[in-house]
């Protein structure tokens, strides 16, 4: 009888210990999840400020600084948009295979290089390369951030997380053109690209330091709360 009492007591203790551990793990996951959403919102907003300022100024830049007519401008934008959307599927493959964080860093790095190239570009070929790099980086950033937002939270908070991230991104998209326009008037038409580069660099550092990986690639175990398959 005493053996059974001890065993039951032991099992109860084990159970309590397990529940404390599971509670601790849950708490850890919640904190990581909240930090990740905050980091995604912050870096996403900074990246949106940069992207919107480039989008706003680039068409004026192409017409005024490089002297392109409307047909050339439309052609360059369409080719770049289509090519980058197609190549971004490759970026998606990378994110699924080698992890989200690495691909996001790659996407922001493309945008950084794109912003610097915009600043120094003089010919149409250089411009085409620049627009390609920038749009490719932007598409990688968008799709990777969407996946990371979904994976950082549980389904009961997923839409709210998207609400916060998308709202802040929209705010960033409003702020970007305002700053770019102001810089254009004060420092000249190429200066907003330097501003965009600085913003991308900040987003790069933010992702590097604050963001936790949500999916490490095909061969790794998933531990995030949102990593659930229906």
């Amino acid at each position: 009888m005493s053996f059974y009492t001890t065993r039951t007591h032991y099992l109860q203790l084990n159970k309590q210990q397990d529940s404390v551990l599971s509670l601790k793990e849950k708490l850890r996951q919640t904190i990581i999840s909240q930090t990740n959403i905050q980091a995604l919102a912050l870096t996403g907003t900074i990246a949106a400020v940069a992207t919107s300022s480039i989008n706003y100024i680039s068409q004026h830049f192409m017409r005024e600084a490089l002297g392109l007519d409307l047909t050339e401008l439309g052609g360059i934008l369409t080719v770049a948009l289509l090519a980058s959307s197609l190549v971004s599927v490759g970026g998606g493959l990378l994110a699924d295979k080698y992890g989200r964080k690495l691909t996001l860093i790659l996407g922001i790095a493309f945008c950084c290089i794109g912003a610097i190239l915009y600043f120094i570009t003089e010919t149409v070929i250089e411009l085409l390369t620049t627009v390609l790099l920038s749009t490719l980086g932007t598409s990688i950033i968008l799709s990777t951030m969407t996946a990371m937002t979904a994976e950082s939270v549980t389904d009961r908070k997923r839409a709210s997380a998207f609400g916060i991230v998308e709202t802040l991104r929209a705010v960033g998209s409003v702020v970007g053109p305002m700053v770019a326009g102001w810089m254009w008037i004060i420092y000249g038409i190429r200066s907003p690209f330097l501003f965009a580069f600085t913003m991308y660099l900040l987003a790069f550092i933010g992702v590097l330091l604050l963001l936790k990986e949500t999916h490490k690639g095909e061969k790794h175990i998933r531990t995030f709360p949102g990593n659930y398959q229906r």
């Binding site: 849950k26 971004s88 990688i140 389904d155 839409a159 709210s160 998207f162 659930y228």
Partner: protein, 196 residues
């Protein structure tokens, strides 16, 4: 089904939306200030509407706000067609901004329907398909504008009728992905990792 819905929406919205600034300027005779109000008001309203809409989407499910979004998109297109003065376009722009209530729920639904191993690849493919679907829109709306005897207003009516089937498609065929509160919580890492 969601991909099909997205193709129809992208195409429909690009038919109506691509020439809407020109329509506002030349047909409705809006001045520069009214044009900038029309453009910025929609973004401002969407910024205000998105967070509460997201919370609602987490409570009642992804499909109802998404359906409301589709209906508002259709209403926006039809309202453009019947607008007579710049003030009407300002009201339409408010309606368009409220239409953003479906975006967080749509993003959540989109990611929940995609398997995690292929999520980013599928999201990229999805945006590529949307971009492709939006390409013929401006061309078609220009052709309608130039050739139709009914005038440019018909462009928005066509756009509305293109988007309308999407609401029906989404409502009838996409499964609700948000689980009910009594169902097991997902905040169990090991379980979440092991579940297939």
């Amino acid at each position: 089904m969601l991909v099909l819905a997205q193709i129809i929406i992208s195409f429909g919205v690009s038919v109506g939306g691509s020439l809407s600034p020109r329509y506002s300027r030349e047909i409705i005779l809006a001045n520069e200030i009214e044009l900038s109000i029309i453009t910025s008001l929609s973004t401002a309203i969407s910024i205000i509407a998105m967070i509460p809409a997201a919370a609602i989407s987490d409570r009642i499910g992804r499909i109802p706000p998404l359906l409301a979004h589709e209906i508002l998109v259709v209403a926006t297109q039809f309202s453009y067609a019947i607008a007579q003065a710049p003030i009407h376009l300002i009201l339409v722009s408010i309606l368009g901004g409220i239409g953003a209530i479906g975006i967080p729920g749509f993003r959540a639904l989109q990611t929940e329907l995609m398997p995690q191993e292929h999520r980013v690849k599928l999201l990229s493919l999805y945006s590529f398909i949307s971009s492709l679907a939006a390409i013929p829109g401006p061309l078609i709306s220009s052709l309608i504008w130039e050739s139709s005897s009914l005038g440019p207003r018909i462009m928005f009516v066509i756009s509305g009728f293109l988007v309308l089937p999407t609401a029906i498609v989404v409502y009838t065929s996409v499964k609700e992905t948000l689980r009910k509160p009594h169902e097991k919580s997902m905040l169990q890492p090991m379980e979440a990792g092991n579940r297939k």
